[in-house]
Assembly symmetry: C2
Homo-oligomer: 245 residues x 2
């Protein structure tokens, strides 16, 4: 598969301390899968300048795209924009286009555009703005790094406006087959099947009910005929197993 | 703070494809916070040997502990144990102590210990086993890397048996203060307060209700008197703000 690749970087102490459960990774992974961009890695780091810089540099070098979430609000712990600018080797300051977006939004709602809120207009030199239909303060794209808000409603809106503009590949199709046999029973035939289909991936996810063990076998790939074919072979192989022990 | 540090490595295609939403990171982060171990970073990688090796080597060098989740079952996509052995430069094979654990479990339940299930007794040389009260197949600790199952019920049971054996530090206390003012209003005083308390961390997490904007300010640290003090100063500063704009 030659689909574009991606990494996600979630930024925020609140995730690592257990205060908040991240929701953005799960959302983004589904959107990218549908768009034919392969999410290869995700990282969570704290609100720490050096940690953000290091992660951005490593991930932007390794993957086609990097998507970040968190740390672009008005408070002192919102340091993502400055760290990304540093990581990409560009300057950052309040930018007139972003300031105008905020000024218009706050004028319409009768709120003062004070110094703290103006921080949200700090945009790295050369970055393109990402529209924020929820609360105006924009995200931005610099190089292959897409910087978005952490609040899920805003993150999702930014993803919705950004991802359709990126070149996608073949959407990765997946087929989930519920098997009423323990993983340890199907592991042999499943491994043999996986060897025969190098362009498909086969995952096995166990479950347990009161009737016993089972597994969901998930076949993933970009060619639906191949998946059909592998599914049929899997069902035949399972039918030939000895009765459940 | 001189608490031990930690990283988590979640292993599994199913998280990155969006099929499954990871739950183990959120669980572990809470347990470690209570135990005085600071989770500094988390990563998610796919079921890919090279990716697992690279992440294990980077994280085990950088942090006191590394906790992994996923990829230690009986199927062909369960490659974590072999990758961890490679990363730590030790050999791996079916080990007699782990084989005995599995044999006893399967004998008691009348299930055959076949070749696939025996893969779960592959344990790196020199590793200590982590007890699995749910389904027997053990996790293990090699060096500073703790390898556990991905199924949340099993992961949580392994964490419960492992973490109390690790040296902890001062539990990190946190205080969450609900403020009925927009982040943009409180950002100034909050930033000033954070500068005055270098041993505390201050996070701000916005919310919106029908009555308007607000934020949870979370103060974190190991000294409860300091947190009390900072909370009082925060409340005083907020009381002195101009009425909501």
């Amino acid at each position: 598969m030659k689909n574009p690749t991606a990494a996600m970087l979630v930024i925020g102490d609140e995730i690592l301390s257990g205060r908040t459960r991240d929701a953005n990774m799960h959302h983004l992974s589904g959107v990218l899968t549908d768009h034919g961009i392969d999410l290869k890695e995700a990282r969570v780091v704290s609100d720490d300048h050096a940690a953000i810089v290091e992660a951005i540099q490593a991930l932007s070098k390794a993957y086609t795209h990097v998507f970040t979430s968190g740390g672009i609000g008005p408070t002192h712990d919102d340091i993502t924009a400055d760290a990304v600018a540093d990581a990409m080797g560009v300057t950052i300051d309040v930018r007139e286009d972003a300031r105008r977006v905020l000024a218009a939004h706050y004028a319409a709602t009768g709120i003062e555009l004070n110094e703290a809120r103006l921080r949200m207009a700090r945009i790295p030199e050369g970055a393109a703005l990402i529209n924020n239909p929820v609360s105006a303060a924009p995200g931005f794209t610099i190089g292959n790094v897409h910087v978005m808000a952490g609040v899920p409603k805003i993150f999702e809106a930014m993803v919705a406006s950004l991802v359709p503009t990126l070149t996608g590949g073949d959407p990765v199709l997946s087929r989930s087959i519920r098997v009423e046999r323990a993983e340890g029973e199907i592991a042999g035939p499943l491994g043999a099947l996986a060897e025969g289909y190098p362009h498909l991936s086969f995952g096995s996810y166990p479950f347990q009910t009161e009737r016993g063990f089972g597994a969901y076998v998930v076949i993933r790939g970009t060619q639906s005929e191949q998946i059909d074919d592998a599914e049929q072979k899997l069902c035949e192989a399972i039918a030939q197993l000895a009765p459940p022990s």
